[in-house]
């Protein structure tokens, strides 16, 4: 196993335009992710997690520190990383199929190859029959399936998921967690998954990075060594849940 993503000493301070007010949201965040690992960044509240993901994505610049993917520093957004957004952000003027093939099309892959890959991933996320539907006609869960297929079809080195199921109802959320595990079992990918839901973190993670509240930094790394499928009411599951919750609450 090799380190594919390295996050070195990231800090981020937001300053308003006239520099009278500043807020530090991330301080000295350091961790790394290995190939094909599912790492969950778990932390309480609204502080810093999305900013961290945006920095890894290249959508925002860190105040200090750097992010390296395959030893190359991240400076701008690019298709070596794919983001699954909480608000999904499908292009509404494209059909499900066109959304999934978009990143290949824009990078001039030929049509046959695009079709093959896009259909494969739409199939993988269980959306056959909905290829020609526009996002406006799809439910929240289905839209996020398209979002996941789109991320896969980009062929990224790292997939970044920003509370991807946060906007879904509880039932759909459980379903999508199972789907995510099924999909990533079928085709292994390196995933950084952000959530503020401890149960979700424990259910999908190989390793959990526990973050502190504002300004966020890494508090603890917990390796979750339980086989899938995990049972949410299992003794070990509940024990870990208790421990991590206590960890977070103590430091609040």
């Amino acid at each position: 196993m090799s380190k594919i993503l390295e996050i070195n000493n990231i800090s981020k301070t937001f300053t308003n335009d006239d520099a009278t007010n500043s807020k530090e949201v991330l301080t000295n965040v350091t961790f790394s992710v290995e190939e094909n690992e599912m790492v969950v960044v778990f932390g309480p509240g609204q502080c810093g997690k999305t900013t961290l993901l945006n920095i890894i994505a290249g959508l925002e610049k860190p105040t200090t520190g750097d992010v390296k993917i395959n030893c190359k520093e991240v400076t701008a957004p690019g298709p070596d990383r794919a983001v699954v957004f909480q608000n999904i952000m499908l292009f509404p003027w494209l059909t499900a199929y066109q959304n999934v093939e978009y990143s290949m099309k824009i990078r001039n892959f030929d049509k046959a190859e695009r079709a093959k890959e896009a259909m494969k991933y739409l199939d993988l996320v269980g959306l056959n029959g909905f290829e020609q539907s526009y996002p406006v006609k799809l439910s929240g869960g289905m839209k996020q399936r398209v979002g996941i297929a789109r991320a896969y079809c980009t062929k990224p080195d790292v997939m970044l998921m920003d509370e991807p199921f946060g906007a879904l109802d509880a039932q759909t959320r459980y379903l999508m967690q199972d789907e995510l595990l099924r999909i990533s079992n079928t085709e292994k990918r390196t995933v950084v998954f952000i959530t503020n839901n401890i149960e979700e973190a424990l259910y999908v993670a190989d390793r959990i990075i526990v973050m502190t509240d504002c300004p966020s930094t890494v508090m603890e790394e917990v390796i979750i060594d339980m086989p899938h499928p995990r049972e949410r009411t299992d003794q070990k599951f509940l024990q870990l849940r208790k421990e991590i919750s206590a960890m977070v609450n103590r430091r609040r």
């Binding site: 959508l59 794919a82 292009f91 509404p92 494209l94 059909t95 824009i106």
Partner: protein, 262 residues
């Protein structure tokens, strides 16, 4: 794509028909009053007149001839206005330099009502067709342009971020993200613009012309033929409505992805 067949709403149709009918009844009763004689024609006469003009000439041509003349003017001015308005709108909305150059002129021109151009147009282009094209062009172009600028300005910045993540180069950003994002607003401009073009042609024809729907009204006034004036007004309304419906149908076809286009 499956086209949803709208459920026919009978109660809506009923009230619509009833209200139109009532207006005609009130109009009819009003027209029977001696004090209204010569000012308010009988609605039945007006409708008869419209059917009569289907096969008889008003002035040089029958009603279809007049509609044809008006529509030719509208379409010529409108198409030119759309092309120029969309190009200028994108230049102003997307490019900082374009905005700096075009915006001042746009701001001044925008506050001039279309009728104010008529005397100038006649002096520049004479009383022929060109002056009418010009008036329609200038009033419609500014409406289209306004909507294109707004459409480009309203493009969700987050979509640009997503597009960059998916590998879109800045060079391809315009065609792949900005343009489709702005399409619904552009359509709005095309729709409002067509209405304005139609209104403007009537105004232009009422100032100076020898054919056209606006001319029918003007002639009716000159000859104190109120039936003809009313017939002209009703025809203008019906054609304006038809144009609006056609545009809406086109939008629903081309922008099926958009909630507005449903």
């Amino acid at each position: 794509m499956a086209i949803k067949i709208k459920k026919i709403n009978f109660s809506k149709i009923f009230w619509g028909v009833l209200s139109i009918f009532l207006v005609f009844v009130i109009w009819y009763i009003g027209s029977q009053k001696p004090s209204m004689k010569g000012l308010l024609p009988n609605p039945i006469d007006v409708i008869k007149y419209i059917f009569w003009s289907n096969s008889n000439k008003i002035g040089k041509v029958n009603i279809w001839g007049h509609i044809y003349w008006s529509m030719t003017r509208v379409i010529t001015g409108y198409v030119l206005a759309c092309i120029v308005g969309i190009v200028l709108g994108f230049l102003t909305g997307w490019s900082k330099l374009g905005s700096a150059i075009i915006k001042p002129f746009y701001m001044v021109l925008r506050s001039i009502p279309s009728i104010a151009w008529i005397p100038l147009a006649i002096l520049w282009f004479g009383i022929g067709e060109q002056s009418k094209y010009f008036i329609i062009f200038i009033s419609t172009m500014l409406i289209v342009m306004t909507n294109v600028i707004d459409g480009v300005k309203d493009v969700d910045r987050d979509y640009l971020g997503v597009a960059r993540m998916l590998g879109t180069s800045e060079r391809k950003m315009f065609w792949n993200i900005v343009l489709p994002c702005a399409v619904p607003q552009i359509f709005n401009g095309l729709q409002v613009g067509l209405g304005a073009a139609w209104a403007t042609v009537i105004a232009a024809e009422m100032v100076r012309s020898s054919k056209g729907v606006g001319w029918i009204i003007l002639m009716g006034q000159t000859a104190m033929n109120m039936t003809q004036v009313f017939a002209g007004i009703i025809i203008i309304g019906l054609i304006g409505l038809t144009l609006a419906l056609l545009m809406r149908g086109l939008e629903a076809k081309l922008c099926a992805w958009n909630v507005r286009g449903k």
